[in-house]
Amino acid sequence: MGIEIETKQEDIYTALDPRMKLILLILFTTATYISRSTWVLLWDYLLIIGLYLVRHLWKGAWKTGILFGSFLVLELLIGYIPHEGTKAALGLIIFFLERTSIFFVMGNWMATKLRISDFVAALQNMHFPKGVIITLAVVFRYLPTVSDEFRSIKNTMKLRGIGLNFKNIILHPIQTGEYAIVPLIIRSMKIADELAASAMTRGLDLETKRTSYRKIRLRVKDFMAAGIVIIAVAGGFVVDTILRKGGV
């Protein structure tokens, strides 16, 4: 008897090839920087939430929705600021926040339930350099644990009277940020070190060609799914440009 393991229900939604996921991540991160239009941004936001929903990641979709929603509301409010200089400065900040956050949101979307070994195998098939593959693998392996680590840090900050709350963030923004980030970096360094040691003893560094337990192959389905999203993003861009020209 072989050991063909039955595909679980959720796998249907995670089945998009990791390479395609990476392409979508790059697509969304760059697309929103190309256009300055808020309408295009809104369209991309909706698409990203859609990507979460398609994979049944309800919680992720909800959080992403709230994040994006608050950005848009902020942008709207900034529009009412009478002082031109302040308006421009804040507008610029929100412009970058709105767009850089997409990188993290999509990174999270990709990292959720990502099978690292499939990812490594896929990148190997594409003849990526080994150093790049290992780095990417460590990053995506570590991402899902960050929120757990951060929760412990937040808890201690609360007990030590330096809590990550509105008052402290406004009054001592730099210090509070430092307190939150320093332990996280120290932990990350430690974990990365241990992870690397473990991976070395298990031969991740070997020159032999890696085999794969799961069959990794790009299917028509993968191209179609990615294609639809790419067309949707490009479509939003084109429609916006046409409307803009026609309107003026």
Binding site: S117, S152, A197
Partner: protein, 492 residues
């Protein structure tokens, strides 16, 4: 199988030698246990076998190490991949995949086994270690014991000749430790050469062929398996080892009741979503100077209970009283402290001194208090050191000092003795005793029978989200505690 000839090693960033003139010969099929206090060099010996020393952890190495008849001096770590399998202390940071199946296959994939061979190996590992139920699961939802089983399976699939384990039980509860013993026993019977470095020795009592005691980087003593089994707890403790025969460990019986109720929990309930570790109708009270040991299987909600006590999580219903008055979350945040298992999350500044005054307004009174606390914790020589550069035990003591700076009446400890040797465990125990003498109420989650016996005045047993039992620790109740801790997983 393993031969070390006059091996000395010094880590490149440290002054002293980690190992001095080690001569060691381990035969094929032998089960060798390395014992000794923290920092004695036993981990370094395990690293010599898998060649992490000196390839990954660099330093000066003298002498020769032979593995499977070959001189390792011109070998890389990966050359040993198929020969030596390594299992580490913390299952969280040794996994590379995020799902169990891929994790087990990982080493075999790296070596480049053909797909048919890979499937055969997987099948063998899954059957022999009886872990079929763990396949296709996310790594993050496994218990520590299950994670350690997967780590072993992943090494086992590659069928190495030698198995090296570095404190594999440090994060396991008693039942999982027992299970680990069964796995190791079956591997031994299959003819594996096994080298294991450990603090908790009771579970290895029956399967060790040879015990090597290491002190300050030297082999101090070799004990045969037979003599080891006959060692009394007193003899073991005198050598700085944990007790071998747990059943004969008795409570210290140093009760100091004032009868004054410090905290009361009434009908506290907490749940998150539908099933995630819910607590129902938790009711108990603890007096000044009580040290309450909270026990129960992994995932029953022990840490959640501590977080509720500290006000980090809000109870859904029920009331929480301190000195007879109901208190809300904010006051609990202010008046309690939580010493986590991993102190790295808890230290924020760049020096020990600054750490003490963080969140407090510095004044003469506090400075005096801080200095006397540091003296008591044995940290007064480290005033300007960066907290991250301290040892694990020192970081933990710094956290306790921080807790005392806050004027807390209540301190919670999450697994304070995981991975501690006998002396350090005793130190923590007496430190907790001193705190209780100051009239503080302490809550401790632990799986460590020996520590619970020497420290706690009361036991709170959580089972299926409820307080199943709450009783005083005494000679009479000791067997009951043992039974709760070591009951089989199926029964829970």
């Amino acid at each position: 199988m393993i031969r070390m000839e006059d091996v000395s090693f010094r880590y490149s960033n440290s002054k002293g030698d980690a190992l001095k003139h080690i001569n060691l010969h381990i035969h094929q099929g032998e089960f060798v246990v390395l014992l000794g206090s923290s920092g004695c060099g036993k981990t370094t010996i395990t690293r010599l076998i898998n060649r992490l020393v000196p390839e990954f952890f660099e330093g000066e190495l003298e002498g020769n190490v032979y593995i499977d008849g070959r001189d390792t001096s011109d070998m890389d770590i990966q050359d040993l991949t198929g020969i030596v399998g390594s299992v580490f202390q913390d299952p969280r940071s040794q996994f590379f995949a995020t799902d169990t199946t891929a994790e087990i296959a990982f080493s075999c994939e790296n070596v480049g086994l053909s797909r048919e061979e890979l499937c055969r190996r997987m099948e063998m590992a899954v059957n022999d270690l009886q872990i079929r139920r763990l396949l296709e699961r996310s790594i993050f939802e496994l218990s520590s014991g299950e994670k350690q089983s997967i780590a072993i399976a992943s090494v086992y699939a590659l069928s190495p000749k030698i198995l090296v384990l570095d404190e594999p039980s440090a994060n396991l509860d008693s039942a999982a430790t027992q299970h680990l013993m069964e796995i190791l026993d079956s591997l031994k019977k299959q003819g594996y050469t096994i080298v294991i470095s450990e603090h908790r020795v009771h579970y290895l009592r029956d399967i060790a062929d040879r015990v090597i005691l290491i002190e300050n980087g030297k082999i101090k003593k070799e004990i045969s398996g037979k003599d080891f089994r006959n060692l009394s707890n007193e003899e073991a403790n005198a050598m700085g080892l944990r007790s071998i025969n747990l059943l004969s460990v008795l409570p210290q019986g140093s009760c100091c009741h004032t009868g004054e109720k410090q905290i009361e929990l009434k009908d506290i309930s907490y749940y998150y979503g539908k099933s995630n570790g819910p607590l129902r109708n938790i009711t108990f009270s603890a007096g000044k100077g009580d040290i309450v040991g909270i026990i129960g299987s992994n995932g029953v909600g022990k840490s959640t209970l501590l977080e509720i006590i500290c006000g980090l999580k809000k109870e859904i219903s029920g009331s929480f009283l301190m000195s007879g008055k109901p208190v809300n979350q904010k006051i609990r945040n202010r008046d309690t402290f939580f010493v986590m298992q991993d102190s790295d999350y808890q230290l924020f500044t760049e020096s020990v001194e600054k750490e003490l005054y963080l969140g407090n307004i510095e004044n003469d009174f506090l400075r005096e208090k801080g200095m006397s606390l540091l003296n008591r914790m044995g940290l007064s020589d480290y005033l300007q050191r960066h907290p991250a550069s301290l040892s694990g035990g020192q970081k933990q003591r710094l956290c306790i000092a921080v807790a005392c700076m806050k004027n807390t009446d209540m301190i919670c400890f999450d697994e304070p003795t995981s991975g501690l040797d006998y002396t350090s465990m005793k130190n923590v125990s007496s430190l907790l005793y001193e705190l209780s003498q100051d009239g503080k109420t302490l809550f401790v989650t632990s799986h460590d029978y020996e520590f619970l016996m020497s420290t706690c005045t009361h036991i709170c047993y959580l089972h299926a989200g409820k307080v199943e039992d709450y009783f005083e620790v005494s000679r009479k109740t000791a067997p009951k505690i043992y039974q709760i801790l070591f009951q089989k997983e199926e029964k829970r």
